[in-house]
Point group: C2
Chain length 210, copies 2
DNA sequence: GCTAGCTTGTGAATTAAATCACAAGTTAGA
DNA sequence: TCTAACTTGTGATTTAATTCACAAGCTAGC
Protein backbone atom coordinates (compact mmCIF):
# COMPACT_ATOMS: atom_id res chain seq x y z
CA UNK A 1 0.00 0.00 0.00
CA UNK A 2 1.14 3.49 -0.87
CA UNK A 3 2.03 5.85 1.92
CA UNK A 4 -1.08 7.79 2.91
CA UNK A 5 -0.68 11.52 3.44
CA UNK A 6 -1.64 12.94 6.81
CA UNK A 7 -3.95 15.38 5.06
CA UNK A 8 -5.85 12.46 3.59
CA UNK A 9 -6.30 10.86 7.00
CA UNK A 10 -7.59 14.14 8.43
CA UNK A 11 -10.13 14.37 5.64
CA UNK A 12 -11.27 10.81 6.21
CA UNK A 13 -12.05 11.82 9.79
CA UNK A 14 -14.04 14.74 8.50
CA UNK A 15 -15.97 12.62 6.03
CA UNK A 16 -16.76 10.14 8.78
CA UNK A 17 -18.10 12.78 11.08
CA UNK A 18 -20.42 14.03 8.33
CA UNK A 19 -21.55 10.54 7.52
CA UNK A 20 -22.46 9.95 11.16
CA UNK A 21 -24.25 13.27 11.19
CA UNK A 22 -26.38 12.73 8.12
CA UNK A 23 -26.76 9.05 8.97
CA UNK A 24 -28.29 10.03 12.31
CA UNK A 25 -30.69 12.25 10.38
CA UNK A 26 -31.81 9.27 8.34
CA UNK A 27 -29.85 9.66 5.10
CA UNK A 28 -29.16 6.34 3.45
CA UNK A 29 -26.99 7.43 0.55
CA UNK A 30 -24.71 10.32 -0.22
CA UNK A 31 -22.33 11.42 -2.96
CA UNK A 32 -18.75 12.61 -3.20
CA UNK A 33 -20.24 15.96 -4.05
CA UNK A 34 -22.22 16.11 -0.78
CA UNK A 35 -19.18 15.15 1.26
CA UNK A 36 -17.07 17.70 -0.57
CA UNK A 37 -19.54 20.50 0.04
CA UNK A 38 -19.78 19.70 3.74
CA UNK A 39 -16.05 19.27 4.15
CA UNK A 40 -14.96 22.27 2.16
CA UNK A 41 -13.13 20.33 -0.52
CA UNK A 42 -13.85 18.99 -4.00
CA UNK A 43 -15.64 15.85 -5.06
CA UNK A 44 -12.55 14.65 -6.91
CA UNK A 45 -10.59 14.99 -3.69
CA UNK A 46 -13.13 12.91 -1.82
CA UNK A 47 -13.07 10.17 -4.42
CA UNK A 48 -9.29 10.20 -4.62
CA UNK A 49 -9.01 9.95 -0.85
CA UNK A 50 -11.33 6.97 -0.74
CA UNK A 51 -9.69 5.33 -3.74
CA UNK A 52 -6.50 4.75 -1.75
CA UNK A 53 -8.42 2.21 0.28
CA UNK A 54 -10.78 0.66 -2.20
CA UNK A 55 -13.93 1.26 -4.10
CA UNK A 56 -16.88 1.88 -1.85
CA UNK A 57 -19.44 3.58 -4.03
CA UNK A 58 -21.85 2.70 -6.80
CA UNK A 59 -21.58 4.64 -10.02
CA UNK A 60 -24.67 6.63 -10.75
CA UNK A 61 -25.88 6.25 -7.18
CA UNK A 62 -23.19 7.35 -4.75
CA UNK A 63 -22.27 5.81 -1.41
CA UNK A 64 -24.32 3.94 1.14
CA UNK A 65 -24.05 6.01 4.32
CA UNK A 66 -23.90 3.10 6.76
CA UNK A 67 -21.50 1.14 4.59
CA UNK A 68 -19.10 3.99 3.96
CA UNK A 69 -19.21 4.96 7.65
CA UNK A 70 -18.32 1.47 8.60
CA UNK A 71 -15.50 1.23 6.08
CA UNK A 72 -14.07 4.54 7.26
CA UNK A 73 -14.26 3.44 10.88
CA UNK A 74 -12.41 0.32 9.88
CA UNK A 75 -9.75 2.26 8.00
CA UNK A 76 -9.28 4.69 10.87
CA UNK A 77 -9.14 1.86 13.39
CA UNK A 78 -12.29 2.90 15.21
CA UNK A 79 -14.01 -0.48 15.19
CA UNK A 80 -12.48 -1.25 18.54
CA UNK A 81 -11.86 0.25 21.95
CA UNK A 82 -8.61 2.03 22.68
CA UNK A 83 -7.14 2.37 26.14
CA UNK A 84 -5.88 5.85 26.82
CA UNK A 85 -3.89 7.21 29.72
CA UNK A 86 -3.52 10.87 30.53
CA UNK A 87 -0.19 11.99 31.90
CA UNK A 88 -0.43 15.22 33.89
CA UNK A 89 -3.49 15.93 36.02
CA UNK A 90 -3.42 19.69 35.73
CA UNK A 91 -5.86 22.10 34.15
CA UNK A 92 -5.86 20.62 30.69
CA UNK A 93 -5.41 17.03 31.87
CA UNK A 94 -8.47 17.36 34.05
CA UNK A 95 -10.56 18.77 31.21
CA UNK A 96 -9.50 15.89 28.99
CA UNK A 97 -10.06 13.23 31.65
CA UNK A 98 -13.64 14.34 32.10
CA UNK A 99 -14.36 14.90 28.41
CA UNK A 100 -17.30 12.75 27.34
CA UNK A 101 -16.41 13.04 23.66
CA UNK A 102 -13.59 10.54 23.97
CA UNK A 103 -15.65 7.62 25.27
CA UNK A 104 -18.23 8.23 22.55
CA UNK A 105 -15.56 7.59 19.98
CA UNK A 106 -14.20 4.46 21.64
CA UNK A 107 -11.39 6.06 23.58
CA UNK A 108 -11.44 4.81 27.16
CA UNK A 109 -9.51 6.98 29.56
CA UNK A 110 -8.43 4.31 32.02
CA UNK A 111 -5.68 6.06 33.91
CA UNK A 112 -4.55 9.57 34.85
CA UNK A 113 -1.04 10.10 36.22
CA UNK A 114 0.61 12.90 38.14
CA UNK A 115 3.65 13.48 40.32
CA UNK A 116 1.94 15.81 42.78
CA UNK A 117 1.25 13.94 46.06
CA UNK A 118 -1.64 16.30 46.65
CA UNK A 119 -3.38 15.01 43.54
CA UNK A 120 -2.51 11.31 43.66
CA UNK A 121 -5.43 9.30 44.98
CA UNK A 122 -8.07 11.91 44.13
CA UNK A 123 -11.15 10.67 42.31
CA UNK A 124 -12.00 12.32 39.04
CA UNK A 125 -15.24 11.37 37.42
CA UNK A 126 -14.67 7.67 37.81
CA UNK A 127 -10.91 7.70 37.32
CA UNK A 128 -8.41 7.84 40.18
CA UNK A 129 -5.28 9.95 39.79
CA UNK A 130 -2.35 7.53 39.91
CA UNK A 131 1.29 7.97 40.82
CA UNK A 132 3.54 8.78 37.89
CA UNK A 133 6.06 6.39 39.40
CA UNK A 134 3.78 3.54 38.30
CA UNK A 135 3.59 4.73 34.70
CA UNK A 136 5.96 2.22 33.15
CA UNK A 137 4.52 -0.67 35.11
CA UNK A 138 0.99 0.26 34.05
CA UNK A 139 1.87 0.76 30.41
CA UNK A 140 2.95 -2.87 30.42
CA UNK A 141 0.28 -4.21 32.78
CA UNK A 142 -2.69 -2.26 31.48
CA UNK A 143 -1.57 -2.17 27.88
CA UNK A 144 -2.39 1.45 27.16
CA UNK A 145 -2.54 2.09 23.45
CA UNK A 146 -2.35 5.85 23.55
CA UNK A 147 -0.85 8.34 25.99
CA UNK A 148 -2.09 11.91 26.20
CA UNK A 149 0.61 14.18 27.53
CA UNK A 150 -0.48 17.23 29.55
CA UNK A 151 2.54 18.18 31.66
CA UNK A 152 4.71 21.32 31.58
CA UNK A 153 6.88 21.58 28.49
CA UNK A 154 10.09 21.00 30.47
CA UNK A 155 8.91 17.56 31.59
CA UNK A 156 7.57 16.45 28.23
CA UNK A 157 10.60 14.87 26.56
CA UNK A 158 11.68 12.94 29.66
CA UNK A 159 8.22 11.49 30.14
CA UNK A 160 7.94 10.62 26.46
CA UNK A 161 11.24 8.79 26.66
CA UNK A 162 10.00 6.84 29.66
CA UNK A 163 6.76 5.94 27.95
CA UNK A 164 8.46 4.94 24.72
CA UNK A 165 10.87 2.74 26.62
CA UNK A 166 7.90 1.07 28.31
CA UNK A 167 6.42 0.31 24.92
CA UNK A 168 3.87 3.01 24.10
CA UNK A 169 3.43 3.54 20.34
CA UNK A 170 1.14 6.55 20.09
CA UNK A 171 1.25 9.88 21.92
CA UNK A 172 -0.86 13.01 21.75
CA UNK A 173 0.99 15.90 23.33
CA UNK A 174 -0.33 19.26 24.50
CA UNK A 175 3.04 20.54 25.61
CA UNK A 176 4.18 23.45 23.44
CA UNK A 177 7.58 21.99 22.68
CA UNK A 178 9.26 19.87 20.03
CA UNK A 179 9.48 16.23 21.10
CA UNK A 180 11.42 13.50 19.35
CA UNK A 181 10.34 9.87 19.18
CA UNK A 182 11.66 6.80 17.36
CA UNK A 183 10.25 6.10 13.91
CA UNK A 184 7.92 3.36 15.14
CA UNK A 185 6.15 5.71 17.56
CA UNK A 186 3.50 8.11 16.29
CA UNK A 187 3.39 11.52 17.89
CA UNK A 188 0.90 14.30 17.33
CA UNK A 189 1.25 17.63 19.01
CA UNK A 190 -1.51 20.13 19.66
CA UNK A 191 0.16 23.48 20.14
CA UNK A 192 -2.37 26.13 21.00
CA UNK A 193 0.10 28.99 20.99
CA UNK A 194 0.95 28.02 17.43
CA UNK A 195 -2.72 28.03 16.45
CA UNK A 196 -3.14 31.48 17.93
CA UNK A 197 -0.05 32.67 16.10
CA UNK A 198 -1.61 31.43 12.87
CA UNK A 199 -4.51 33.74 13.67
CA UNK A 200 -2.37 36.74 14.55
CA UNK A 201 -0.35 36.23 11.39
CA UNK A 202 -3.57 36.38 9.41
CA UNK A 203 -4.82 39.41 11.35
CA UNK A 204 -1.52 41.19 10.84
CA UNK A 205 -0.95 40.37 7.19
CA UNK A 206 -4.52 40.48 5.99
CA UNK A 207 -4.75 42.34 2.76
CA UNK A 208 -1.00 42.34 2.16
CA UNK A 209 -1.20 38.83 0.80
CA UNK A 210 -4.01 36.87 -0.79
CA UNK B 1 3.31 39.71 -1.57
CA UNK B 2 2.83 36.09 -2.48
CA UNK B 3 0.34 34.00 -0.59
CA UNK B 4 2.11 32.36 2.34
CA UNK B 5 1.32 28.69 2.97
CA UNK B 6 -0.09 27.72 6.34
CA UNK B 7 2.72 25.20 6.70
CA UNK B 8 5.22 28.03 6.41
CA UNK B 9 3.51 30.03 9.14
CA UNK B 10 3.50 26.99 11.42
CA UNK B 11 7.20 26.55 10.90
CA UNK B 12 7.87 30.21 11.62
CA UNK B 13 6.21 29.67 15.01
CA UNK B 14 8.47 26.70 15.59
CA UNK B 15 11.59 28.62 14.64
CA UNK B 16 10.60 31.43 16.95
CA UNK B 17 10.10 29.15 19.88
CA UNK B 18 13.59 27.70 19.36
CA UNK B 19 15.10 31.11 19.01
CA UNK B 20 13.56 32.15 22.30
CA UNK B 21 14.81 28.96 23.87
CA UNK B 22 18.41 29.24 22.75
CA UNK B 23 18.34 33.00 23.19
CA UNK B 24 17.39 32.51 26.84
CA UNK B 25 20.39 30.20 27.12
CA UNK B 26 22.65 32.97 25.87
CA UNK B 27 23.13 32.09 22.20
CA UNK B 28 23.75 35.18 20.07
CA UNK B 29 23.81 33.65 16.60
CA UNK B 30 22.41 30.58 14.96
CA UNK B 31 22.22 29.05 11.48
CA UNK B 32 19.53 27.67 9.23
CA UNK B 33 21.09 24.31 9.91
CA UNK B 34 20.59 24.64 13.67
CA UNK B 35 16.99 25.69 13.24
CA UNK B 36 16.40 22.86 10.82
CA UNK B 37 17.82 20.26 13.18
CA UNK B 38 15.74 21.51 16.09
CA UNK B 39 12.59 21.82 14.03
CA UNK B 40 12.85 18.53 12.17
CA UNK B 41 13.19 20.07 8.73
CA UNK B 42 15.97 21.00 6.33
CA UNK B 43 18.14 24.08 6.24
CA UNK B 44 16.95 24.91 2.74
CA UNK B 45 13.38 24.86 4.04
CA UNK B 46 14.26 27.26 6.82
CA UNK B 47 15.94 29.67 4.45
CA UNK B 48 13.11 29.43 1.94
CA UNK B 49 10.53 30.11 4.66
CA UNK B 50 12.40 33.19 5.80
CA UNK B 51 13.05 34.38 2.27
CA UNK B 52 9.33 35.05 1.76
CA UNK B 53 9.68 37.91 4.22
CA UNK B 54 13.12 39.28 3.59
CA UNK B 55 16.75 38.59 4.13
CA UNK B 56 17.62 38.37 7.80
CA UNK B 57 20.94 36.55 7.90
CA UNK B 58 24.56 37.22 7.14
CA UNK B 59 26.28 34.91 4.68
CA UNK B 60 29.06 32.99 6.29
CA UNK B 61 27.81 33.84 9.76
CA UNK B 62 24.17 32.92 10.13
CA UNK B 63 21.43 34.79 11.96
CA UNK B 64 21.49 37.04 14.99
CA UNK B 65 19.23 35.34 17.53
CA UNK B 66 17.68 38.51 18.97
CA UNK B 67 17.25 40.09 15.56
CA UNK B 68 15.66 37.08 13.92
CA UNK B 69 13.42 36.56 16.97
CA UNK B 70 12.25 40.10 16.72
CA UNK B 71 11.62 39.89 12.98
CA UNK B 72 9.64 36.68 13.41
CA UNK B 73 7.58 38.20 16.20
CA UNK B 74 6.88 41.09 13.89
CA UNK B 75 5.90 38.83 11.02
CA UNK B 76 3.65 36.74 13.24
CA UNK B 77 2.09 39.83 14.75
CA UNK B 78 3.36 39.17 18.25
CA UNK B 79 4.87 42.59 18.91
CA UNK B 80 1.62 43.68 20.47
CA UNK B 81 -1.04 42.55 22.90
CA UNK B 82 -4.11 40.74 21.64
CA UNK B 83 -7.41 40.75 23.47
CA UNK B 84 -8.97 37.32 23.62
CA UNK B 85 -12.38 36.22 24.80
CA UNK B 86 -13.31 32.67 25.64
CA UNK B 87 -16.82 31.59 24.77
CA UNK B 88 -17.99 28.63 26.85
CA UNK B 89 -16.96 28.32 30.48
CA UNK B 90 -16.98 24.54 30.67
CA UNK B 91 -14.19 22.07 31.24
CA UNK B 92 -11.98 23.13 28.37
CA UNK B 93 -12.91 26.80 28.59
CA UNK B 94 -11.90 26.86 32.22
CA UNK B 95 -8.54 25.21 31.47
CA UNK B 96 -7.88 27.76 28.76
CA UNK B 97 -8.99 30.74 30.84
CA UNK B 98 -6.50 29.84 33.56
CA UNK B 99 -3.67 28.90 31.21
CA UNK B 100 -0.63 31.02 31.93
CA UNK B 101 0.98 30.25 28.58
CA UNK B 102 -1.34 32.65 26.77
CA UNK B 103 -0.43 35.79 28.70
CA UNK B 104 3.27 34.97 28.28
CA UNK B 105 2.78 35.20 24.54
CA UNK B 106 0.82 38.44 24.60
CA UNK B 107 -2.66 36.96 24.55
CA UNK B 108 -4.78 38.61 27.22
CA UNK B 109 -7.87 36.66 28.14
CA UNK B 110 -10.11 39.54 29.05
CA UNK B 111 -13.52 37.93 29.01
CA UNK B 112 -15.14 34.54 29.48
CA UNK B 113 -18.76 34.02 28.42
CA UNK B 114 -21.36 31.40 29.22
CA UNK B 115 -25.10 30.96 29.09
CA UNK B 116 -25.39 29.00 32.34
CA UNK B 117 -26.82 31.27 35.08
CA UNK B 118 -25.01 29.12 37.63
CA UNK B 119 -21.68 30.12 36.11
CA UNK B 120 -22.27 33.76 35.23
CA UNK B 121 -20.69 36.04 37.82
CA UNK B 122 -18.24 33.44 39.12
CA UNK B 123 -14.63 34.59 39.47
CA UNK B 124 -12.01 32.58 37.66
CA UNK B 125 -8.43 33.48 38.30
CA UNK B 126 -8.96 37.19 37.83
CA UNK B 127 -11.62 36.93 35.12
CA UNK B 128 -15.34 37.02 35.79
CA UNK B 129 -17.66 34.77 33.81
CA UNK B 130 -19.91 37.05 31.79
CA UNK B 131 -23.35 36.58 30.28
CA UNK B 132 -23.32 35.33 26.70
CA UNK B 133 -26.14 37.79 26.03
CA UNK B 134 -23.55 40.56 26.25
CA UNK B 135 -21.22 38.97 23.73
CA UNK B 136 -22.01 41.18 20.74
CA UNK B 137 -21.99 44.34 22.80
CA UNK B 138 -18.60 43.44 24.30
CA UNK B 139 -17.04 42.46 20.98
CA UNK B 140 -17.74 46.01 19.90
CA UNK B 141 -17.07 47.76 23.21
CA UNK B 142 -14.01 45.79 24.28
CA UNK B 143 -12.66 45.24 20.80
CA UNK B 144 -11.74 41.60 21.19
CA UNK B 145 -9.34 40.51 18.48
CA UNK B 146 -9.69 36.78 18.90
CA UNK B 147 -12.48 34.55 20.16
CA UNK B 148 -11.78 31.08 21.51
CA UNK B 149 -14.82 28.88 21.15
CA UNK B 150 -15.35 26.14 23.73
CA UNK B 151 -19.04 25.33 23.63
CA UNK B 152 -20.84 22.11 22.60
CA UNK B 153 -20.63 21.40 18.89
CA UNK B 154 -24.35 22.07 18.37
CA UNK B 155 -23.97 25.65 19.55
CA UNK B 156 -20.79 26.41 17.64
CA UNK B 157 -22.06 27.66 14.28
CA UNK B 158 -24.75 29.89 15.78
CA UNK B 159 -22.28 31.53 18.12
CA UNK B 160 -19.75 31.96 15.34
CA UNK B 161 -22.39 33.67 13.22
CA UNK B 162 -23.21 36.00 16.09
CA UNK B 163 -19.55 36.83 16.66
CA UNK B 164 -18.85 37.38 12.98
CA UNK B 165 -21.83 39.67 12.71
CA UNK B 166 -20.49 41.66 15.64
CA UNK B 167 -17.17 42.07 13.85
CA UNK B 168 -14.79 39.40 15.14
CA UNK B 169 -12.14 38.46 12.55
CA UNK B 170 -10.30 35.52 14.14
CA UNK B 171 -11.67 32.44 15.88
CA UNK B 172 -10.04 29.41 17.43
CA UNK B 173 -12.59 26.65 17.87
CA UNK B 174 -12.40 23.50 19.98
CA UNK B 175 -15.80 22.24 18.91
CA UNK B 176 -15.45 19.05 16.85
CA UNK B 177 -17.58 20.25 13.98
CA UNK B 178 -17.17 21.99 10.65
CA UNK B 179 -17.86 25.71 10.89
CA UNK B 180 -18.18 28.14 8.01
CA UNK B 181 -17.08 31.75 8.12
CA UNK B 182 -16.86 34.54 5.53
CA UNK B 183 -13.58 34.88 3.63
CA UNK B 184 -12.41 37.83 5.71
CA UNK B 185 -12.62 35.87 8.96
CA UNK B 186 -9.85 33.44 9.89
CA UNK B 187 -10.90 30.25 11.63
CA UNK B 188 -8.71 27.53 13.08
CA UNK B 189 -10.17 24.41 14.56
CA UNK B 190 -8.51 22.13 17.07
CA UNK B 191 -10.25 18.80 16.83
CA UNK B 192 -8.92 16.37 19.36
CA UNK B 193 -10.98 13.44 18.15
CA UNK B 194 -9.38 13.94 14.76
CA UNK B 195 -5.92 13.95 16.28
CA UNK B 196 -6.66 10.74 18.11
CA UNK B 197 -7.99 9.21 14.90
CA UNK B 198 -4.71 10.10 13.25
CA UNK B 199 -3.04 8.02 15.93
CA UNK B 200 -5.39 5.07 15.64
CA UNK B 201 -4.98 5.12 11.89
CA UNK B 202 -1.23 4.86 12.37
CA UNK B 203 -1.60 2.14 15.01
CA UNK B 204 -3.94 0.17 12.77
CA UNK B 205 -2.08 0.53 9.51
CA UNK B 206 1.43 0.39 10.83
CA UNK B 207 3.53 -1.86 8.66
CA UNK B 208 0.98 -2.05 5.87
CA UNK B 209 2.18 1.24 4.51
CA UNK B 210 5.43 3.14 4.85
C1' DG C 1 -34.71 -3.66 -23.08
C1' DC C 2 -33.40 0.87 -24.15
C1' DT C 3 -32.33 5.61 -23.11
C1' DA C 4 -31.35 9.65 -20.29
C1' DG C 5 -29.32 11.21 -16.40
C1' DC C 6 -26.19 10.62 -12.67
C1' DT C 7 -21.97 9.49 -10.18
C1' DT C 8 -17.93 6.83 -9.47
C1' DG C 9 -12.96 5.67 -10.08
C1' DT C 10 -8.80 6.93 -12.03
C1' DG C 11 -5.06 8.20 -15.43
C1' DA C 12 -3.38 12.75 -17.03
C1' DA C 13 -2.49 17.49 -16.18
C1' DT C 14 -1.79 21.06 -13.13
C1' DT C 15 -0.51 23.37 -9.09
C1' DA C 16 1.90 23.62 -4.77
C1' DA C 17 5.60 22.39 -1.64
C1' DA C 18 10.06 20.75 -0.62
C1' DT C 19 14.76 19.93 -1.89
C1' DC C 20 18.95 20.64 -4.49
C1' DA C 21 22.82 23.00 -5.61
C1' DC C 22 25.60 26.82 -6.17
C1' DA C 23 26.95 31.81 -6.77
C1' DA C 24 27.63 35.41 -3.74
C1' DG C 25 28.79 37.31 0.75
C1' DT C 26 31.24 37.18 5.24
C1' DT C 27 34.79 36.23 8.64
C1' DA C 28 39.12 34.76 10.62
C1' DG C 29 43.65 33.93 10.26
C1' DA C 30 48.10 34.04 7.91
C1' DT D 1 45.74 41.54 1.18
C1' DC D 2 44.72 36.92 0.20
C1' DT D 3 42.82 32.43 1.16
C1' DA D 4 40.07 28.91 3.38
C1' DA D 5 36.00 27.82 5.59
C1' DC D 6 31.34 28.92 6.25
C1' DT D 7 26.54 30.10 5.44
C1' DT D 8 23.01 32.64 3.15
C1' DG D 9 19.52 33.48 -0.54
C1' DT D 10 17.45 31.77 -4.51
C1' DG D 11 16.71 29.94 -9.31
C1' DA D 12 16.15 25.16 -10.99
C1' DT D 13 14.58 20.65 -10.10
C1' DT D 14 12.12 17.18 -7.94
C1' DT D 15 8.47 15.36 -5.38
C1' DA D 16 3.86 15.54 -3.51
C1' DA D 17 -0.87 16.97 -3.55
C1' DT D 18 -4.78 18.52 -5.90
C1' DT D 19 -7.73 19.14 -9.73
C1' DC D 20 -9.37 17.94 -14.34
C1' DA D 21 -11.88 15.30 -17.31
C1' DC D 22 -13.94 11.34 -19.03
C1' DA D 23 -14.88 6.29 -19.76
C1' DA D 24 -17.42 3.05 -17.33
C1' DG D 25 -21.19 1.61 -14.55
C1' DC D 26 -25.67 1.99 -12.37
C1' DT D 27 -30.77 3.30 -11.95
C1' DA D 28 -35.25 4.89 -13.06
C1' DG D 29 -38.65 5.49 -16.19
C1' DC D 30 -40.81 4.37 -20.24
N1 LIG E 1 -4.25 24.81 30.39
C1 LIG E 1 -4.39 24.98 29.08
O1 LIG E 1 -5.42 25.41 28.62
C2 LIG E 1 -3.29 24.64 28.16
C3 LIG E 1 -3.40 25.07 26.85
C4 LIG E 1 -2.40 24.75 25.94
C5 LIG E 1 -1.32 24.01 26.35
N2 LIG E 1 -1.21 23.62 27.61
C6 LIG E 1 -0.03 22.84 27.95
O2 LIG E 1 -0.40 21.66 28.62
C7 LIG E 1 0.54 21.37 29.63
C8 LIG E 1 -0.16 21.33 30.95
O3 LIG E 1 -0.76 22.58 31.17
P1 LIG E 1 -1.73 22.86 32.38
O4 LIG E 1 -2.29 24.20 32.18
O5 LIG E 1 -2.66 21.71 32.57
O6 LIG E 1 -0.65 22.93 33.58
P2 LIG E 1 -0.86 22.54 35.09
O7 LIG E 1 0.30 23.12 35.80
O8 LIG E 1 -2.23 22.86 35.51
O9 LIG E 1 -0.71 20.97 35.06
C9 LIG E 1 0.47 20.29 34.89
C10 LIG E 1 0.38 19.02 35.71
O10 LIG E 1 1.51 18.19 35.41
C11 LIG E 1 1.96 17.64 36.62
N3 LIG E 1 3.35 17.26 36.47
C12 LIG E 1 4.45 18.05 36.46
N4 LIG E 1 5.56 17.31 36.29
C13 LIG E 1 5.15 16.02 36.20
C14 LIG E 1 5.82 14.80 36.03
N5 LIG E 1 7.13 14.74 35.89
N6 LIG E 1 5.09 13.68 36.00
C15 LIG E 1 3.75 13.72 36.14
N7 LIG E 1 3.06 14.84 36.29
C16 LIG E 1 3.76 15.99 36.33
C17 LIG E 1 1.75 18.71 37.65
O11 LIG E 1 1.69 18.15 38.96
C18 LIG E 1 0.41 19.28 37.21
O12 LIG E 1 -0.67 18.61 37.83
C19 LIG E 1 1.60 22.43 29.55
O13 LIG E 1 2.65 21.97 28.75
C20 LIG E 1 0.88 23.56 28.89
O14 LIG E 1 1.77 24.38 28.18
C21 LIG E 1 -2.18 23.90 28.53
N1 LIG F 1 -13.17 18.87 27.66
C1 LIG F 1 -12.28 18.58 26.75
O1 LIG F 1 -11.19 18.13 27.07
C2 LIG F 1 -12.55 18.76 25.30
C3 LIG F 1 -11.67 18.19 24.42
C4 LIG F 1 -11.88 18.36 23.05
C5 LIG F 1 -12.95 19.09 22.61
N2 LIG F 1 -13.80 19.64 23.47
C6 LIG F 1 -14.92 20.39 22.93
O2 LIG F 1 -14.98 21.64 23.53
C7 LIG F 1 -16.33 22.04 23.68
C8 LIG F 1 -16.61 22.25 25.14
O3 LIG F 1 -16.32 21.05 25.84
P1 LIG F 1 -16.33 20.97 27.41
O4 LIG F 1 -15.83 19.64 27.76
O5 LIG F 1 -15.70 22.15 27.98
O6 LIG F 1 -17.90 20.98 27.67
P2 LIG F 1 -18.69 21.55 28.92
O7 LIG F 1 -20.05 21.01 28.83
O8 LIG F 1 -17.89 21.33 30.14
O9 LIG F 1 -18.70 23.11 28.63
C9 LIG F 1 -19.52 23.71 27.69
C10 LIG F 1 -19.91 25.08 28.23
O10 LIG F 1 -20.56 25.80 27.20
C11 LIG F 1 -21.65 26.47 27.80
N3 LIG F 1 -22.63 26.78 26.77
C12 LIG F 1 -23.51 25.96 26.17
N4 LIG F 1 -24.25 26.63 25.26
C13 LIG F 1 -23.82 27.91 25.30
C14 LIG F 1 -24.19 29.07 24.59
N5 LIG F 1 -25.14 29.05 23.64
N6 LIG F 1 -23.55 30.21 24.88
C15 LIG F 1 -22.58 30.24 25.82
N7 LIG F 1 -22.18 29.16 26.51
C16 LIG F 1 -22.81 28.01 26.25
C17 LIG F 1 -22.16 25.54 28.85
O11 LIG F 1 -22.91 26.25 29.82
C18 LIG F 1 -20.86 24.98 29.39
O12 LIG F 1 -20.37 25.76 30.45
C19 LIG F 1 -17.17 20.93 23.11
O13 LIG F 1 -17.46 21.23 21.76
C20 LIG F 1 -16.24 19.75 23.17
O14 LIG F 1 -16.53 18.79 22.17
C21 LIG F 1 -13.62 19.49 24.82
Amino acid sequence: MKRIAESTVRRLSIYLSFLEDIGARGALTTSSDDLARLGGTTSAQVRKDLSFFGSFGKRGLGYSVPELSSRLREILGLERQWRVCIVGAGKIGSALARYAGFAERGFMVSGVYDSDPGKIGKQWGGVTVLDIADLERDIVARQYHIAVLAVPAEEAQVLVDRMVKAGIKAILSFAPTQITVPADVTLRTVNMAMELEGLTFALTNRGADR
